[in-house]
């Protein structure tokens, strides 16, 4: 029996077919835009937030209204109206202030199909022995990152409520009999690197995701990658870009653009108007994620990037001026004081 209601169940089948075709390098079973518009119509009927933002009938994916990512903190965005109706609820970390946003899913089927499939494609032959500098999903079931990494193999979790368990981490590396897959946020990896970790076994892979927003300690990406290469000596270092509010991820290598799967379209838009900019121009990043059937299809981030003609994404960081102008209060100030 489908996890989805009648309005979404046929769309779930179409999305699954689209993702499977993309993963198998087959032609899409239908155009991206027609599937996106069909999903939008169904979501609009189920999501009052999206309905309030809608203006007319879109003819393609770019005409679908984008939901600003911050709205997830203010409103119940998506087609699942309450936590009780969701099989899984992923929540944002709250590091950018203003509370935590929720992404409710009736099923993780599409999420897992896309996330695991695209990971295998971008990081082929990845070791199945995983050391995660993340919370165990058993204690953090709302972490979408932990959920994704749990599917990478046999995972040992090194992040405790009190912080990173350096002793356990070091022991796991020293006792390893084969290559390891180290999955880490930038912040946790920087923490481990500064404690002098042992060199990883030959053939190991290090995956880094996220930045240092909301943290008091920060390393530049370049400095951290160099330090990771020097201290851990992995065979491969890969980068991941994901968001709790999305169901799909982008993958890359240090210093190189990110690749998005075919079912995730990335567009750089004019931050003033929301209108798409030409390929190669910098703009506010917008994601159109076909796997976001339970959430919302189109999301505007507060990140800046360049999307090439080939769809590859160069992430430039937060939008210009995210450091406050003027002496008025910021949401970060408010939350920092609580």
């Amino acid at each position: 029996m489908s996890a989805w209601p009648p309005a979404l169940a046929p769309l779930a089948v179409r999305v699954r077919a689209y993702v499977e075709a993309a993963l198998a390098d087959r032609p899409e079973p239908e155009p991206f835009d027609s599937l996106a518009v069909a999903i939008h119509r169904a979501q609009r009927a189920l999501d009052p937030v999206l309905a309030a933002l809608a203006e007319g009938e879109p003819s393609d994916a770019l005409g679908i209204p984008a939901v600003p990512v911050a709205l997830f903190k203010d409103l119940p965005v998506g087609t699942v109206s309450s936590d009780e109706d969701a099989a899984v609820v992923f929540r944002t970390s709250g590091t950018t202030g203003g509370g935590r946003g929720s992404h409710r899913l009736r099923s993780t089927e599409l999420y897992d199909l896309g996330a695991q499939g695209f990971h295998r494609r971008c990081v082929p032959d990845a070791p199945r022995e995983v050391v995660a500098l993340l919370h165990d999903p058993a204690i953090a079931p709302d972490s979408s990152l932990s959920h994704m990494v749990a599917g990478f193999g046999r995972v040992r979790w090194a992040l405790r409520p009190a912080g990173l368990d350096h002793e356990a981490l070091d022991a796991w590396v020293r006792e390893a009999t084969g290559p390891l897959y180290v999955a880490a946020t930038a912040f946790a990896l920087a923490d481990w690197l500064q404690h002098g970790p042992p060199v990883l076994p030959a053939g190991s892979v290090v995956m880094v995701t996220g930045g240092f927003k909301g943290r008091t300690v920060a390393l530049s990406d370049e400095a951290m990658y160099a330090l990771a290469q020097e201290r851990l000596q992995p065979e491969r270092l890969v980068t991941e870009y994901g968001m709790t509010e999305l169901s799909s991820q982008l993958w890359g290598r240090p210093g190189q653009p990110y690749r998005a799967p075919r079912w995730l379209r990335v567009v750089a838009v004019d931050p003033a108007t929301g209108r798409p900019r030409a390929a190669g121009e910098r703009g506010q990043l917008r994601f159109i994620d076909l796997c976001n059937l339970d959430g919302t299809l189109v999301i505007d981030t507060m990140d800046e990037g360049v999307v090439g003609a080939d769809g590859e994404v160069t992430l430039l960081g937060r939008l210009e001026g995210s450091e406050v102008r003027g002496c008025s209060l910021t949401m970060e100030d408010v939350w920092a004081s609580r």
Partner: protein, 338 residues
Amino acid sequence: MLADDGRRVGEPLRAAVRAWRDAAVAEGPPRVAHGLSPQGWAAVWQAAFDALSDEALDAAWQRAGSPYEEATMVVARTVLTAPLEWCALWWGVGTQVRLKVPREAGGLGPWLEEQATRFGLPLQVVTDPEAVQGPLVVAMGRDATIDALAEALPASTRFVGFGHRFSVSWARTEAGLRATAADVAMHDTRGCLSPVAVFSDHPQAAAILAEAMAEAQARWPRGELVDHELALLRQRRALARVVGSVAEGEGWAVHTVPVGRFQPVSAPRLAVLHPATHAELGVALAPYLEHLSSVGTDSDDPLPGRVVPCGQLQRPVLARQHDGIDWVAVAVGADRSG
């Protein structure tokens, strides 16, 4: 008149301050990076010097107790005209002023340095953090910066810090709402005295505010916004469309939003209107009182923070409490025994 160490004190210095003020008003604002339109910057400039009337300056200087020989002011990148009134008072009581400005964005620092030389006023502008020292240090900036300075300075230094704050309006009449629009428009809503929200129980508040915001735009056009601000405006607009209503024109917007969704954070030229009773205003502000600077009002209702008439939020008089501190007493050493 000269002190033993050669510093000019007394009436000659005060006359120099008045001459500097008169020249600044007559010659108009200097070209510095501020993000405001030329008309907006001129209005801010005029308001800053209106506060430095002969009567106000004399009243402040007459309070002089045991002035500091030297004082250091740390001015964050986000602070624009605040150094003017501090310098005026310090100079008039013979205090040698050291202004520490950011290396990459000196604000009014270079202009003040030039003016000090021109009028013989004691000022040194520095960018080196090591120069932040002496018997009195005053700082303005983010709470985290203020906390870090408070920790770093020796006990022998008197430290007075002003973190980021927010202000609101409680306007019950048409005249009050119209005056509030000017408060919102000035500084393009970026200052700590800019009302981040307008609370009102007037039945036509939205229409009145919209008309007044359009008039303010015609008088002082909004300046240039950076990408983050543009995206923030679209984000706030989306929220208002879902939970309330939006009225907008070129360079201004009025969002009518339920009082339960009050956020103490501003966006440029955005008047967020919360239809509310006085009791509801109190409930909305209660969680944020520690960050509240001022309330503009046209009523006699009891209100927290510094209370001023609508339209006067951005025109602070010299003799006032600044975030609860009698700043004039600090500046002229009135609260200090010799």
